[in-house]
Amino acid sequence: MEASTALVINAIIAGLLLGGFYAAVSVGISISFGMLDVVNIAHPAFIILGSYVAYIVNDRFGFDPIVVSLVLSPLFFALGMALYRIYYLCFEKRGQESLRGLAFFFGILFITEVILVLIFGVDYRMVGTAYSDVTWRAGDIDFPMRLVVPFLVSVAMVAGVQLYLTHTFFGRAVLAVAQDQLALRLMGVNPVRVKELAFALSIATAGVAGAFLIVIQPVQPSIGREYIGLVFAVCVLGGMGSIWGTLIGALVLGIAESFTSTFFGPSWAPAVSFGLLLATLAFRPSGLLGR
């Protein structure tokens, strides 16, 4: 196969694999921002937290980080519930969500990053898994397992969330609360409780996605900030609150980043997600799939 064709195909493959992971990272924002209208700008902080938790357990006991994160996801769920409680009591109830809520989550993002720096320092941390160095080859086309495994689990998780939202009573309550809280109340369901649990779910997905992240690449505390643009870009691109939209938006972003990295150099990659976000907001705020 010609070298340049192989390069392009590899860029596409890497982009798709990354894209799947980006969907897992962003599905939480689809819920918290797209459906619940909570601007949880601290979402990436929980991703990084998940990375470090996975790192600690992997470092100490050698367990696979992805398995660990799934096992520990209830912890993140509980954390999400607590966080929503505070947010609701201090902001949503008082009707001051916009400015103060934003500042609040920004503060949380910030504090998390700083605490991680204080505990772990700014060095990159990585994990060792059975498949970290394995790459499946088909001719000149590479399928690195460190991308493939998170991709598969990511897609599974995103699909799982979508099925949950559309096929269970609680899931549909979440979809309903996004549209008409009053109707929900009239049906005897407490919207606050629904939102609390939905938000907790979003944080849980973040924690799990963090484990995917540290399998894919080494992690250090400030990486969280780079993901803010990414998750909101994916969410906006995908049309806010549509899980399938999130997946498509994520794949688009993954491929765009992969191509930029391959042909312009990796130092330009962070600009891709944010640039795409700015462009989308400026020209097509309803996203690719529009709502």
Binding site: Q96, S98, L99, G107, V114, L118, R225, S267, W268, P270
Partner: protein, 317 residues
Amino acid sequence: MSNRVFAVVAFAFALAFAAASQLISNEYFFTAAYTVLQFVILATAWNILGGYTGYVNFGSAAFFAIGAYSTVVLYNGFKAPLPVMIVTGTLVAGLAGLGLGYLTLRLRGVFFAIASLALSVVLFTFIVNWDYVGGARGAYVLQPREVPFGLPRYIHLLYIVMVLQAAVSLIVARTIEKSTIGRGLAAIRDDELAAECSGVPTLRLKIFSTMVSCALMGMAGTTFPYYLSFIEPTSAFSLTYAVNSIAMPLIGGMMSWIGPLIGAILLGTVQQLVQVMFSLGAWNLLIVGVLLVLFVTLAPNGIMGWVDALRKRRDRR
């Protein structure tokens, strides 16, 4: 107090601070004061869009860096004199604010906030890849050997410039606050739809507010390359600027020009002390972050809000 009188008073204070500084023998004072004054300008500037208009800007660092890097460009280009650098940086930052505002202010405030953060990262990536200004390695901007006005060291001049810039920012902020435009901005903050339906040209005012705010933030950055004679992207775009420019007005009080001033002086001084005592930058930031979260949840009107509440309670008696 009319605008003119306030301006005179502000400049009088500035000159007094400038003159008094020549009596101080501890050189560390100037480095510390420079940083605190930076924050006074940034906090005051941020509050014009944040506190007065109700739009959160997470990208203060971007506009600060625009000011700093336009100085670098002018320095590399033809060693322009400092006043030219200051004016240029301010204008470029203002234009960038206009651009950001024009693109995103038609959307909900939330999207403006996210876009401002996005701008920060895009600009950072751009600067990192731009060799003319040194890219990731950084650039040297050497202080002139001869210090103007016969001052002992260049940092003294920088200090005086910052004091004047701080006075300018406070004057601008207060003038806007007390003007008709200020009332319009407050209406937008309280209820944008009602403001629009009361005749306030909301988009126009928001863009104006963004431009002024960003221009002043750029102004704060224009002397920064000279501060350490060196500048590199990570410190220019440091998260400290983003967090502090939000935390300081929030803690001081977002409704008037006094709040950011108080917040900047208090928080800025605390951070300087912590740095001296513990010399760990991260603890500094942790304190700011924790204070930000505490104040926004428990005392969202800040120190001035608390003062106002006390005053009202006293008036009632």
